[in-house]
Amino acid sequence: MVEKGAPRPWRDRAIVQLTLARYREFYREPEAMFWTFIFPLLMAAGLGLAFRSKPPEVAKIGVVRTGSYAAVAAGLRAETLLDVREVDDSVASRLLRTGKVALLVVPSGEARIEYRFDDTRPEAVAARRVVDDVLQRSAGRRDPVPVINAFVRERGSRYIDFLIPGLLGMNLMASSMWGIGFSVVDQRRKKLLRRFVATPMSRAEYLASFVLARLTLLVVEIGFLVSFGVLAFGVPLRGSIVGLVALCLLGSMAFGGLGLLIAARPRTVEAASGLMNVTMLPMWVFSGVFFSSGNFPDAMQPFIKALPLTALNDGLRAIMLEGAGVTQLPLAFGVLSAWLVICFALAVKIFRWK
């Protein structure tokens, strides 16, 4: 019996079946799920904890029991940034040496005070400044310029706020490039690609199925990482979600194109892995995932700015942290679109089907 040429139900279309096959290959591979969804969360959690904002540090200092030490100690205790203890001369140097106190205050004689500290230790230098201010003011110093301290501890300026968009960008790069590149090369190695090519399957639909599957998985991926950042660390999401998703889609497609280009020729997974790593390494280093790409010399900036991951990371930070709209990011969208078009066109041109 042969099925009649009635209009095809959507499920019977090649693009649908190919895309379904992509999903199945993905979710039936627990490792792939881990690397795509769980690993970035663990990384964000670990780095977020390590670099969380701490309250201002309290300096431990010792006041040696000599001269008018009682009055000096009482005056210093009024300052909340200092943790003051009185110590005997005999143990004082040992406490300083072992770091139990950052600074020793030695009241010697009527109007003279000696500070003993290691001037190469930042906390000791900071403690000296605080102690000295307190003692000078209580002795009658007047500051000629009146100052006001306004504390700004705003969400958006912390390390975790910088980190989450960077991790999101890096993750999109890795999962798009590996997700597409690995499957294509694996199917070529298994001669499955040859088998497909000998059927009337449309080659464009075959390639499109990878992109489609990636784009839908991507929404899950962004959702996971962004909501984790927002809920667990209070990372701000100031721009529109639509803008964020649009940028992620474009970024993912650009990296998908790059993955496809890398996978266009190799016959073995090993050869493709090598190429993948060589391509991704400069972006891990230069594109501002863990620290700002502005740290690199000015001469390198044009090169760094042209990398797709730099464009994606800068764009993500602008949207999430500064509330930028899509129209304010011509550079990010432009760079990513250029990569997308060039990579896809080249990949399709040199693709080894047989």
Partner: protein, 310 residues
Amino acid sequence: MSTTTPALSIRGLVKRYGNIVAVDGLDLEVARGECFGLLGPNGAGKTTTIEICEGLNNPDDGEVVVLGMRHRDNPLGIRAAIGISLQETQLTEKLTVEETVRLFHSFYPRRRPVDEVIAAVQLDEKRTARVGQLSGGQKQRLALACALVGDPDLFFLDEPTTGLDPQSRRQLWDLIGRFKAEGRTVVITTHYMDEAEHLCDRVAIVDHGKIIAQGTPRQLISLLGTEHVVEFRLDGLALGETELAALPGVTGVQVKDGRYQLDVTMIHQTIPALLALLHGRDSALSELTTHTATLEDVFVHLTGRHLRDG
């Protein structure tokens, strides 16, 4: 497309890989509804020929017409009308049997229902099993299901039974027999002579990229001029080739490493005469086998080599 054009017609096909000539001026014609076997040792050029017919490889010279179409003019038309199984495809292990067939089903403009195809290859019980969990024979039947689902007029099957146990081979033979019964054309390559004799209407023996003989299995065997082959070894004095050739009904003698092989037309006369000859010589048989002549014997006869020697 008329049904009188041959299913496959190959003329002057040449394919070189550097210095190696994989296919060396091969001509072939396969009629509609025929099951045609390509036999030959390893490296004979069978896969190369068949992949050129499938459009997976480009010839250096010659012409291939598949179901009246040329790859240059109508690649999609050919792909939609043929069903293939490649020598070494691995289907995706993570998909199930049904998902795999459904995937191939979605590629074809004209197709058969998925359930029907799975039933035809007797994988109903395995429809939800992952491909990675199938046995070798079941994998091959799945490969045939993927070829069958496009309702092809012409099958190209490259060594579909290699490496399978005898029972799985029989199952595949039944299946391929049914393709033929439905009026489809089958082009199959194999190393197994019994398979070719069982399945094929006609066979071509390929060696070094050329066809060295073709015809029905019976016709080829009759090239030997004999119907039986007698093989034996001796315990004692050797016999001369001329005295053996003089025995009644013997048309050919080969002696190699103490093994005697006689091509024989009238076995009932030859054996008693051989025994009588030995009796007079004080020599005894240490081994004696007889079989009806096979395509293997034809190959040995034509090339002086066994098929498996490569």
